[in-house]
Symmetry: C3
């Protein structure tokens, strides 16, 4: 009634580099829907890992805001993805997150689709009914060494293969397809999905917020750049450790150097292998491997942690013994789902090769801490007193790259 809310194009155009976004980006239902349309329906979205649907007939459902997707492994072991909705009366097809089926049968009137999406049976339809025009609507799907991405656009961004070519060799040694899911955890984050992403894209808050995580990781590996004499000594030590780690990796033919394309590609990403503290083996409370059975064909425990990030919604940590993947899905303008998945070698036996609480302790605690911080930010940015504030150029440079990518892709979406 007194609507003076600036419209989206204006808000995008006036965004100041190096500053946090204006409040409507974190609260406005119309921008939430625009995010779903222009970001989540047009880019490659990480949705899960191949071990979740290892066998023919395995299906998984994933809701990306108002986009309901089902990913299936067909009888030829190919991945297929579809809109998870019947072509008849629109009923949701697969309810469970994971299921195993012969065909995909609608629970309402039993319309029956093959794992290739073709409509195989529809009762009571007239003779001239064209079943071939009522197959499930396809969604693009790709696997990057076992990490499953989907794209809901008619034409998916064509730079996925290029990312896969670059990043594949980093990830491949960890053998995701020979892993099993040891644990999964869903958290409803009390803030807009971008607050969760921004929280992930810096370690400025780590020293105060994450006592468990900082036993193993160096905040410096994520852009943290403290000031002062002690800081310089620490930075030098960290650089030496990186050099040492990368040299050891090179000996084994494992790529480790930083590659960063967060803001200069449609499918933005970043990867780097980073050293860990003390024993240097894994992101655990004692910095040692949590699983005796190493991943892939690895024999060296001290490989630090391979970090792999994608825009807009994922990050992943690969150690010699286990992998942790994170996916963020918008729920409402002010909530998001954070899905965390812990993977170990498929032959590892719980209680023998690994203790589940030890495996998950660090990120279980860290997720809860981050979720609380996201809530603090959400509580503030929705108030009238909030104004965009300045990012630390060094320490929050990758947050800035997330925002820059987001603004650019939203503008491209509106233009397209």
């Amino acid at each position: 009634m007194t609507d003076s809310t600036p419209k989206l194009p204006g808000l995008l155009a006036r965004r100041t580099r190096g500053m946090t976004l204006e409040a409507p980006f974190y609260t406005d239902p119309a921008i939430h829907h625009a995010d779903l349309d222009l970001i989540f329906a047009r880019h490659w979205i990480f949705v899960g890992v191949e071990p979740e649907i290892a066998e023919p007939g395995d299906v998984m459902s994933v809701d990306i805001g108002n986009h309901a997707v089902l990913v299936a492994r067909d009888d030829d072991m190919e991945l297929r993805a579809f809109h998870n909705v019947c072509r008849h009366r629109g009923a949701r097809l697969i309810e469970a997150r994971h299921d195993s089926v012969g065909n995909i049968v609608c629970p309402y009137h039993q319309w029956t689709y093959g794992l290739d999406g073709a409509l195989r049976h529809a009762g009571c339809m007239p003779r001239d009914f064209q079943a071939e025009r009522h197959g499930l609507r396809h969604v693009h799907v790709r696997s990057l060494e076992g990490l499953i991405f989907v794209c809901l656009a008619e034409e998916a961004p064509d730079d996925f293969e290029d990312m896969a070519r670059i990043v594949g060799p980093y990830i491949a040694p960890h053998g995701i397809t020979r892993c099993k899911v040891a644990h999964t955890e869903d958290i409803v984050e009390p803030g807009n999905w971008k607050l969760t992403m921004e929280n992930n894209r810096e370690c400025y808050h780590c020293s105060a917020a994450h006592p468990e995580l900082t036993r193993s990781i160096f905040a410096e590996g994520f852009g943290f750049a403290p000031v002062g004499a002690a800081a310089e000594a620490q930075a030098a030590r960290f650089q030496a450790m990186i050099g040492d780690l990368h040299a050891r990796c090179q000996l084994r033919g494992i790529p480790s150097g930083e590659i960063e394309h967060l803001a200069d590609r449609i499918t933005g990403f970043r990867t780097e292998r980073l050293p860990l503290e003390d024993a240097g083996e894994s992101e655990t409370l004692d910095t040692r491997v949590a699983c005796k059975k190493l991943l892939g064909d690895l024999s060296e425990t001290r490989l630090g942690a391979l970090s792999f990030w994608t825009q807009p919604n994922s990050w992943h940590h690969f150690m010699s013994d286990h992998i942790v993947t994170f996916a963020v899905f918008p729920l409402t303008p002010e909530t998001a789902l954070l899905r965390t998945t812990w993977l170990v070698h498929q032959d590892a036996v719980e209680g023998v090769d690994y203790d589940l609480s030890n495996l998950t302790a660090v990120w279980h605690a860290t997720n809860a801490q981050d979720s609380a911080l996201v809530g603090k930010a959400a509580d503030g940015v929705r108030t009238s007193g909030y104004r965009p504030g300045p990012y630390s150029a060094d320490t929050e440079g990758l947050v800035e790259k997330f925002c820059a990518w987001y603004i650019d892709r939203m503008q491209a979406g509106l233009a397209g």
Copy 2:
């Protein structure tokens, strides 16, 4: 902000016959409000049965979306209906669903209205206060052989009497006004009210979804038309049973043939007496009467089930021993209230003449199954992947008539 939602007139105009409605009809708050304004405030809405307010001073309140109505039986045994809101400060007058009162007294400042709606007392008002201008605002009310309908429009559709003239003789033998309410059940349906209505208007889903209901009813009676040799034999058997039932009814002077005006009248309706399976007596688990005391002056148990439907919000099943009525009231864009009422003869004694769990078993189970299916449909139609799908011409013809009636009445409402 990127608002490209088609407006209501455009959505109505582009609706394709024989196809499900577009998603906004099931999700959009603005269409929800238009439904309340153009459908629920302008048509005859079924709200309950006379036995609910049998005595002078009995009142019932019913909320039809944002329309709060109270229906009263006055001292002359006439039905009266009013907006359930005080003319002073707007407080809700009758809170309970059923009550018995001398006058209607506002709980806020004790303004007091007679059962005729006249303001009888208002404390502290000045001498020139015109009480006669502050009576309760009237709502049209009619009883069709004991089924109570209200209309919130200033001028109610004038075809109610015609429907009553046609349908009255079908219903009258079941003697609603000599019944009592044996049980009532409110379910919050997890979808837009139209999904509940569409679910009711076909039995395509019955064989798979309703094991209890299909012990007695024939899906063929509601348009179900399977294909194949066995289907033909079954159809022939069903036609023979209809012929037998209608002949027996004719002997007793009870009308039974189909009358269908679902889409060609403002007050759309359909009725038909249909045979039941096996014992053929009632919609019970054993297909026999659930109440020893038959309704009205009936002496024959095997009268099948009289089906009576009205647009936009009701259906009713009349058997020789009991009646089940159903009313649907919108709550929010994506929820609705389904109110089910079981009636038996007023002289029937629970535990002697009928067992309540046996009486209610079939529709209690069927309602829950339908509610789950409505939820599946709602879960799908709100996703970006949903597209309108084709109705089966034979089996879902009456769903199509519901949609056609709805589109037509919405367009008439916008034009009016």
Copy 3:
């Protein structure tokens, strides 16, 4: 889609004096936001009392709709108020309602502000970072003899001092700053904040709704004017009691006469000292003081109750032994927070000088009764049948003044 909602300026312009407001003022999200912008961000809002932040470093947070404010007592005992949001990433600074701090430290990245709002420390920021430009954003704050008011506008209404000059002598004898908070109670009112205010601004409903409160107070003191012979006798008795009370007050130099500027000032207010029934000492179940230790330097118990109201959101009752203050904060279009605070002399000892349940019994019960009535009104005004109704000119004259003030200030806000 069929949007025919009148816009705010039109609704304001067509408001009829002496009638309740139209429905959108109690339900519409856009008007709710306009209320927050034009009423709550531009006027003096009562938020609490000085004893809540008695010591240096004491802070309190208060949320006025989407306005998050923190009020602090600095090291010089001055009151300071700020937006409760960090200048870096927008995180909420003070979470608890009350806290005691050395500095104000953001929980996200530890940006640290002094109690004067200046940014004292921000890690990792570049050398050219201008800390002096990133202090907390100030909010106006004033104390009226211990009642704390804030104003979020850049320029606060300049008539606060005038109100303080007039009302201060009434309040000062009760010595708020020498009080302590004995009890506080937050109720989520089930209606728009204006329904809570309107409920407070008349006692027409008191006789039927408030058996506990009317043991001590006279509804006549709040404009109640019943008709009839008995009423005249009662009115005469009440006038005599007022005369007696005011004479006793005058002897002690305590001002007591009515001053009413509810609708003719930006900072609208009203005050009057009113007699109480029976023992005439306090708003308690037995009309006697609930606390043996009298307030300030008072020695007389029979001082009735000083009533002090402010627009838009507070009322206060001062007795010789205790004070009850009430603040209303909008939450959503159809809910509000009612915060009630009971104060006694800081030296009074619970269990010795006062019994807490006796102290709070009357207003605890009255608040619950009023909250239920607000719910009845909210239930009615959101229905389609609601139409504005007439206020009783005598008995609801101060409700009309609340509405007149509100309409005037909204129009001024839109014009400004």
